[in-house]
Amino acid sequence: MHLEPHRRSVTGRVRSGDPDDSTVRTGSLKRTLPVSRLRPARRGQIPLWMMLTLFGVLIVIISVWTWESTRPETADGRETIVFWNAKDFGTEVYAVIHKFEIENPQYKVVVGSTVSRDLAADGQRLLCAVAGNVPPDLVLFDRYAIGEWAGRDALTNLDPYLDKQDPKDPYYIDRKNYYDWAMQEATYKPPGSSRTPGLYGIPTGIDIRLLYSNTNELRQKDIAKPPTTWDQLRADAKLLKILNPDGTIKQLGFAPNFGNSWLYIYAFQAGGHFLNELERTVNGRTYPPRTLVTMDGPEVVRALRFMTDVYDDAGGVKEVEKFQSGFQSDSLDPFIRGQIAMKIDGDWGLQTIATWNRDLNFEITPAPMPDDLVAKGVPPITWAGGGSMIIPSTAKNKAGAFKLMQYMLSPATYRFLHEGDRQSMESQGQLYLPRPVSDRRVLKEATEKYITHNDKIPGPFKRAYVVINKMLDQTYIRPPSPVGQLLWNKHIDAMNDALAHEDWTGKTDRYKNDQIREILARNQIDVQRRLDEIVEPPPPHVVGWGIYFAAYGLLVASPFVALVMAVRRGRKYKTYRAGQSAVAMLFLSPWLIGMICLTAGPILFSVVLSFTRYDVIGAARYVGFDNYRHLLGESLFFKSLGNTAYMLLRVPLTMAVSLGIAMLLNQKVKAIGAYRTIFYMPTIVPLVAASLLWLELLNDNHGLINVLIRSIETTPPARWIEALVNSVHTFPPDHPFRFTTPGWLVDAAWCKPSMILMALWAAGGGMIIWLAGLQSIPTQLYEAATVDGANSWKQFLHVTLPMLSPYILFNAIMGVIGTMQIFNEAYIIFPNGGANNSGLFYAYYLFEQAFQFFNMGYASAMAWVLFLIVLLLTLIQLYASKKWVNYDQT
């Protein structure tokens, strides 16, 4: 290298101390600097060679580190088993795992946090790991999602492992010990195929739905025992309802969807199914079992009609929701306090009662059934879900994972885990109620030990466990299906749509039923489409990437060929020096590599993807314009677009607030630096921290904002505001405007205002730019305006705003682009899109499609639509700006 002597020559020259005082004017530095100050640094500048060496060392370290961190073994040679969601096994799970490691010294178990609120509904973390080829080896997650995941080939079929077991093995897993329906829920075969079904998970816990009745409340209305039929339930609910003087609900008898019942339980009870159980022919097409969505069948219509009727009895779903928004948890649980006398809820509700009021006089019974079926002698029906242990299909250590699974599911392990939980609960002075599990032996043993033969357990709990054990033989499950999650989401959408129905006074029964059927039919379209996609043979044309790579290679090469030719020709005309072009390529190389591999390549790749169906795990297949076509027919797409459009409101609002602050700060006030710092500070709070902070600030019960509102709720000013608003706008007489705490993050109507509020808090970021803009306005303009007799408002309108217009344009464009891409805060604050998907913004929905459903093609199409929207909005703003932006600055 020749670098060394050159370096010396430079420093040598500088050290010789050249008294050069000539000055140069530097473009926009707007001040003259003595050239001597622009001289190379004498000290503090690391020599180039050292810099290059450090660079090389860094690259070596990073390579070694990458290699090290992608190996599956630990440093001591043990194989790792990565186990997710282990904490759901209870407090002592680590001790169990440690014992497993001692008994099986070849394994090291890594228990990690999944950082997922709900692995089944939000499987993004797990699916990314599966697609990333480094999944966890063993996962505990919701059983009902097994169909969905097995359908994507993300799970390992456990049948061969079960069959290979040695019956004498103390950890032998025997299928016979498990509830049949639980095993069914973990069994999957592709719908419409003739493959033998496989078992993809071993069931663990159970959650089962039952009717909870507050006996004290029932007694007060002389209801002798909890209802057993729908008609009785309706009648009792009406009896138990109490209204406030102003017509709002004070106490409710029963709300069909309070607790955890959903439409599923009522549909099952009415004999309905969401997917066809038998082969059916519709419009000449034959559907094998579980390939036709039958959500609009008469039984489901009847069930949903029942739900709407009960809500109508209570005054409509809006009233009930308003009532429920005041509910609190723990010791203020609405069921414990008698605010709601009956509910259908999961068995975990027992623990809530045991923790906060173990002396409550309550009763657990099977959920009521339709009257005609009870008359026919049909036994009560409920539905259950629960957990299961699965091994991802691409797991590195399946043998170890299965061994750990056997260990975790053995009765001895359960015994220890139960005992640990009991100890932990009792040491906190609480009752311990073991949760039901799918293994009958374990359930029986635990029930006897901790409930039946335990004197500390009050009677209602003992009776509840008898009912639970009985009902476990009458349990329905949600059918394992590759569209299970979508079906679940859509069934909720349909339910919400139907409950919020139009005014039905004076309408016939038939009309109401038709309306409900129409809603159910509308919501099942997307599910059926997905199901058809899965059942039909995949699109025939697999994407051959080779040709694209070749074409891209040519595309990339062409500018370089052109460059060489230009340099050749340039040399002839002495335009370019070949040497400098080569040097330029050296300097450009990082960007060129990045451009080719990480920007342009991916962009073109994304274009191709948007015309395919691709889930990362399988091959991409062309579908033409289908993705774009489906976008236009999908309700959630438009919903997310609408939500995002709503959020555009925050752009002018934040601009106004930050401009206001900047104008105040521009008043030549003292301590401007301190003010500026304080107003700017909210913008530097990390987004995760800010989101979590606002999640608490806007919390219904203890959030600062609601606490403040509640403290002035009963004061005269609140009355004045009420009177003012009611005089300006006429509300329905039974629902006047009330000054009260909004359900910021739980009420669909308040979700987006909450987000705007959060954005306003961080409005100080824009202030800096405004301040710079304001200070660049020449004072002569104001002086001239004063001479012309303009007051300060006119000055603002005719001097300040026009002079700021380029800044307004810039802020508006950046604000719109930023708003179209809102993701982090929405993802953190609104799990699964928030109430009624009102927090599902465009980028969030795109993320869900891409990494939760792994519809990569569809998500790519969404990304390009986003690009077009952003481009269009920007162009519109630029075009409109010609009319109002003043570039005539100086």
Binding site: M51, S69, V567, F851
Partner: protein
């Protein structure tokens, strides 16, 4: 514009002039300051509240206090807990009638309570205050749940029904409930072989434990527990040492954990412990503060496998100690000592401030997360500074065919939303086998971000050409010129870029969410989110974690404020 101060009469005393000027200033600009201060209040309050939340106890969160209470020296226990707040009127009772009826109900309760003896330890407290508090509690527990049919029947009927319900059991329970005590609820031992052994039930403690020293006395508490009655003179009083000698069911090396159930008295006194089993001696490595009135456990655990996991470390570590130890021959002879040291007001405040933060540090592998975040920040900053200044040199200073075209391309890529390259990015990194490594999160920064290159080009263009020409004459090649001449001159822009990269890298959330599997590789953003998911109910803990993530950024902001502002202004002007 006229300048009033310019025509002010001179010759006034210096001090008076200053005051006058200040007065005039506030007369003119005071309204600005008023509005600004209101704004400051509005914008700062969420911060202040976050700090407050991070110091609260669970009770304070539930009770919706805006700020946490300041603890003071708590001299004696038991003490009387404040009466619960007046509940809202039952159905059919007007609030006017309720305010009167409530007093009568409390009175009836006090009458019933007066007949009952005070619970053990009650001699330390003001009996009247205890009965008043218990009477209020009785209204909550007994009167409010009464049937709705009774309330409209008139006060006499209500009081009659109520009095009949006040059995001895109910009244005694209310008295015990309002007595704030430090209760001990039993000791259990877990062995490494996963056996759980109860070695001392709570209702035996006052019989078999001894008070080795200090102003305390052990008494029974309810059916299942014992409590410690004490009276400290000051925060510097001698500690109470409780001693429990027992036969350990296991060997010392088989000890997994020893669990002591207790109920706090909200005194913020400090608990330490020593444990000797056979010839092994331990003492606690962390001090526990007796916070809240809640049931809790003190889990003593020697270093073991649990410490190698990422689970929330809710136990108190036991450290081996040999100082002054003795040989006692019997390997199962065990001594447990609880040392209860009084906290003065300052000590109590310290304990309260420390509590949630210490828990946050022990709930997540905090330093691992910080390490990952810092590594990501460093790598990204290094890469972005290098690539932006290196590439910009070619655009700003070198002549080559297609330069303006390439520059246009660079600007065009800024228009493409990041969502477009998100999916191909995932596919590329995964096919390189880099899922679950940090590489995908920083590599891209080494190849130049269009925005930073653009900023750098704009700035570099303003540097006079003469310098380079001089350097070339000196014999420097292009790379040397870049390194020795250009880089030192673009430092302001480099600083602005560094700040932006820091904020971007520290904040990055979606990248880690998609690309990382193992907790050992999480940066703080994802780790903190993970904590908020796993410990969702523990608001104060999450807020303490939030503070720990925010404070470094605020410190850096104050240190480099100039560059923050410059970065925003520069990107605002040039963009």
């Amino acid at each position: 514009m006229t300048r009033p101060d310019a025509i002010a009469p001179r010759g006034v005393a210096e001090g008076a002039g200053r005051w006058q000027r200040t007065g005039r200033y506030f007369a003119r600009k005071g309204w600005v300051h008023l509005i600004l201060l209101a704004g400051v209040g509005l914008f700062m309050f969420p911060f202040v509240w976050m700090v407050g939340m991070s110091l609260k106890t669970d009770d304070e969160v539930v009770s919706s206090d805006i700020f946490p209470a300041i603890p003071t020296f708590h001299a004696a226990s038991p003490s009387v807990r404040a009466a619960p707040p007046v509940p809202p009127p039952p159905e059919g009772v007007t609030s006017k009638r309720w305010s009167d009826l409530y007093k009568q109900l409390v009175g009836a309760g006090e009458t019933a309570l007066a007949k009952r003896p005070l619970p053990p330890g009650g001699d330390l407290v003001n009996a009247a205050a205890l009965r008043a508090s218990a009477a209020a509690k009785l209204v909550d527990d007994v009167a409010i749940p009464m049937s709705g049919k009774i309330w409209p029947q008139g006060d006499a009927a209500v009081l009659d029904t109520y009095s009949k319900k006040l059995s001895d059991d109910v009244t005694d329970a209310a008295l015990e409930n309002r007595l704030s005590r430090f209760e001990l609820g039993g000791v259990e031992i877990h062995s490494l072989g996963n056996e759980i052994k109860t070695i001392c039930p709570g209702n035996q403690i006052y019989k078999v434990w001894t008070v080795e020293s200090g102003p305390g006395q052990l008494l029974p508490a309810g059916k299942d527990a014992s409590h410690l009655k004490y009276r400290f003179k000051s925060g510097w009083d001698d500690p109470i040492v409780l001693r429990y000698e027992f036969e350990s069911p296991i060997d010392a090396d088989q000890l997994h954990k020893l669990i002591i159930a207790y109920k706090g008295d909200d005194s913020w006194h400090q608990v330490d412990a020593t444990l000797d089993i056979g010839d092994t001696h331990w003492k606690t490595g962390l001090t526990t503060y007796i916070a809240q009135y809640r049931a809790a456990t003190l889990t003593l655990q020697p270093y073991g496998f649990d410490d190698t996991t990422y689970q929330p470390k809710t136990w108190v570590p036991l450290e081996p100690f040999t100082e002054g130890s003795w040989q006692n021959g019997d390997p199962h002879k065990a001594v447990l000592r609880l040392i209860i040291r009084p906290s003065g007001t300052l000590g109590a405040i310290y304990g309260k401030v420390e509590r949630n933060y210490l828990r946050a540090f022990r709930t997540i592998p905090f330093w691992t997360y910080v390490g990952n975040s810092v590594l990501l920040v460093a790598l990204q900053m290094f890469g972005a500074l290098f690539s932006a200044s290196f590439v910009a040199y070619a655009f700003a200073r070198l002549q080559w065919p297609g330069r303006s075209l390439a520059f246009g391309l660079l600007l065009a890529t800024m228009m493409v939303p990041s969502q477009v390259t998100l999916i191909p990015g995932f596919v590329i990194w995964r096919s390189l086998g880099w899922y679950n490594t940090l590489n995908p999160l920083w590599i891209a920064s080494w190849f130049g971000s269009a925005f930073f290159i653009f900023l750098m080009v704009q700035f570099m263009k303003t540097i006079p050409k003469e310098l380079e020409e001089a350097a070339r004459i000196d014999g420097l090649n292009a790379v040397q010129t870049w390194w020795y001449i250009i880089v030192p001159l673009v430092k302001p822009t480099l600083a602005a870029i560094a700040i932006m990269v820091f904020m971007g890298a520290w904040n990055d959330f979606m990248g880690p969410l998609i690309m990382l599997r193992d907790q050992s590789r999480f940066p703080l953003s994802l780790g903190l989110f993970g904590m908020s998911v796993d410990q969702a109910a523990d608001t104060t803990l999450v807020m303490a974690g939030n503070m720990l993530m925010t404070v470094p950024v605020i410190i850096i902001f104050f240190l480099f404020q100039r560059y923050f502002i410059e970065g925003v202004t520069v990107s605002g002007m040039k963009g």
